[in-house]
Amino acid sequence: MGLEQALGDSFLTTKLEDAINWCRKNSLFPMPMGISCCAIEMMAFAGPRFDAARFGSEVFRFSPRQSDVMIVAGTTTFKMAKVVRKIYDQMPDPKWVIAMGACTSSGGMYRTYSVVQGIDLFLPVDVYVAGCPPRPDNLINALLTLQRKVQKGESKGSSTAIIGDFTTHRHPVPSAG
């Protein structure tokens, strides 16, 4: 609506890449990897008060196959790391990871044998969020940071550039049947 008012009967030119990235950044479906207390703040982030839907991150997908960004929210133990990685591997390219909170980003206060000292030891992380736990506003800030990265076509985890070559997959898709 705003566009017609600004441009009248005129038209707009852009690159296909930019148009697709613009679509992507405004429809980032999160995969809620809520492992511990950060998940409570992540729920508030999605709920009506903070309302991540305002930024197009409308719907939490509880299936990795339908989601774009994994929000790892909580202390990740070595035992859980295998699970997190397995779920991440099932997400289709292009994909992003937000490391939410001190434990996820660095091990936090759990400097001990059982906790992974930062999930970037086994996952490519795009955005880190500070806090223990971070406020939902802070997670919204991370989402906006991620949107800027998506617009520029950056992704740590996707093998292909965000746009273009869909023929090579980092994790080959098994053929059906």
Binding site: T112, Y113, L121
Partner: protein, 160 residues
């Protein structure tokens, strides 16, 4: 109530080497590990005692040359609302303790936890597997000689 327990144990197990101690009206009994199952069975079933609830069972590493590892039993009686604590110790070379799963079913997971963290072998336990750590893990993390940050390479991470 404490002296009743002491008297009854002394009468029933006359030749056993118990050590009784009391602190702030809490009774602690150190029991030789060979008779721990019988003592527990008796404390549960004796009519005036009826310690029918095992509220906790945990392991301990005393880090001493003799009697290094121990198991602590916290008992509670729903009828008399009274608590006592049992302790039993075993040597580092022979870290075996008889199981009490036959007395209280809840001891099953508690003993698995103690085994996972300290490596005590609960003899007669029906299913002595690790509780928290991965099955293939080879160390016992709550032993005093285990480094805080773990042993490098003992817990593999997925490839990046």
């Amino acid at each position: 109530m404490n002296h009743v327990v002491v008297e009854k144990l002394k009468t029933r197990f006359a030749d056993a080497a118990f050590e009784f101690s009391e602190f702030r009206a809490e009774l602690t009994v150190v029991v030789p590990k060979e008779i721990i199952t019988e003592v527990c069975q008796y404390l549960k079933e004796a009519p005036e005692l009826t310690y029918d609830s095992l509220s906790d069972l945990c392991g301990i590493d005393m880090n001493t040359p003799a009697k290094r590892f121990g198991v602590i039993y916290n008992l509670y009686s729903l009828a008399t609302k009274h608590r006592i604590r049992l302790k039993t110790f075993c040597e580092e070379e022979d870290p075996t303790v008889p199981t009490v799963t036959g007395v209280w079913g809840t001891a099953n997971w508690h003993e698995r936890e103690a085994y996972d963290m300290f490596g005590m072998d609960f003899q007669g336990h029906p299913d002595l597997r690790r509780m928290y750590m991965p099955e293939e893990f080879e160390h016992f993390p709550l032993r005093k000689d285990f480094p805080l940050m773990g042993i490098p390479g003992s817990l593999p991470l997925p490839k990046k």
